[in-house]
C-alpha cells in the first residue's frame, strides 16, 4: 500500500523533500513509516519520536494505516 508522507520545515530540509510517496507493507503503523523514513538519506536527522498527524489529526506511533493516508511528520511548532 502507499501513503503520502508530508515533511515540513527542518524535517523537509533533512530529507530534501516536502512530500514522499512511500510504499509500505499492508498493516503498517505510523512507527513502521517512521522507521522507513529513518533509513532514507538524511533520515537519521529526524528525532526518534517526532510528532505525527494522520489525515491532519495528531496520531500515535501505534496508529495502523490502511493505505492512502496523508502522514505528516511535524517538527516542533512555532506559530505566533
Amino acid at each position: 500500500m502507499t501513503v503520502t508522507v508530508l515533511l515540513f520545515a527542518s524535517y523537509a530540509d533533512a530529507l530534501g523533500s516536502s512530500a514522499i510517496e512511500l510504499v509500505v507493507p499492508d498493516g503498517s503503523t505510523v512507527r513502521d513509516v517512521l522507521g522507513t523514513l529513518a533509513a532514507m538519506p538524511g533520515g537519521h536527522r529526524l528525532p526518534p519520536r517526532p510528532l505525527v498527524a494522520v489525515n491532519a489529526e495528531y496520531a500515535t506511533a501505534a496508529t495502523t494505516l490502511r493505505g492512502g493516508e496523508e502522514v505528516a511528520v511535524i517538527p516542533p511548532v512555532a506559530g505566533g
Binding site: 520545515a9 527542518s10 519520536r49 510528532l51 489529526e57 495528531y58 496520531a59 506559530g79
Partner: protein, 162 residues
C-alpha cells in the same frame, strides 16, 4: 467565530470591528509581532510556513474550545504566512464579550494553545545572513508533555533554504 491563515498584512482595526457590537463592554486584542532579537541574535525577519489543512483545523478547534470554556462567541483569529519584516503582525486575536474577564481569558487561552498545537513554523533570518528554524512546541508522538529533541541548530542552518 472565524479563523484564517492569511498571505497579506493583518488589518487589526478590521478584526476589532468584526467582533465588536453594542452588547459588548469589552474587546481584547492580542498581537504577535516580529521581534528584532531572539536568544541574543539580531533578527531581520521571519518566514512563516504551515501545514495549512491541519493548521486551520487546529485553529478552529481552539476557537471552539475558547467558546465552550469562556462563553465567547465573538472571536476572530488570523495568522499570517510568508516573509515578514520587523514589527509586522504575525498573529492577531480579537475577542469581544459583554464582560472583560471572559474576553481577556479567551484571548490568553487562544494564543497559548496556538503556540503549542498549531502546525506553523518560522525560519528566522539573522543579521549575519544565516537562517534557522525555530521550534517551541514540546509534545511528542507518545503522549503530551514529553520533550521532542529539535534538530541540531548547525544542521538546520546548513540545510535552510537559500
Amino acid at each position: 467565530m472565524r479563523v484564517a491563515l492569511v498571505d497579506r498584512p493583518i488589518d487589526v482595526a478590521a478584526l476589532i470591528s468584526e467582533v465588536s457590537n453594542e452588547s459588548c463592554g469589552a474587546a481584547t486584542v492580542f498581537l504577535g509581532c516580529v521581534r528584532n532579537v531572539n536568544d541574543g541574535r539580531g533578527v531581520t525577519g521571519i518566514e512563516y510556513s504551515a501545514y495549512r489543512r491541519m493548521a486551520e483545523r487546529e485553529m478552529t478547534a481552539i476557537a471552539a474550545e475558547a467558546q465552550a470554556k469562556f462563553g465567547v462567541s465573538r472571536l476572530v483569529v488570523e495568522h499570517r504566512l510568508g516573509t515578514l519584516g520587523l514589527g509586522d503582525v504575525s498573529v492577531a486575536i480579537a475577542v469581544a464579550h459583554p464582560r472583560r474577564a471572559p474576553a481577556l481569558d479567551a484571548n490568553r487561552y487562544v494564543i497559548e494553545e496556538l503556540k503549542q498545537r498549531v502546525p506553523i513554523w518560522k525560519l528566522e533570518h539573522y543579521a549575519d545572513g544565516s537562517r534557522e528554524w525555530v521550534g517551541q512546541g514540546t509534545r511528542s508522538i507518545e503522549h503530551g508533555g514529553a520533550e521532542v529533541e529539535p534538530l541540531p541548530a548547525a544542521a538546520a542552518t546548513e540545510h535552510s533554504r537559500p
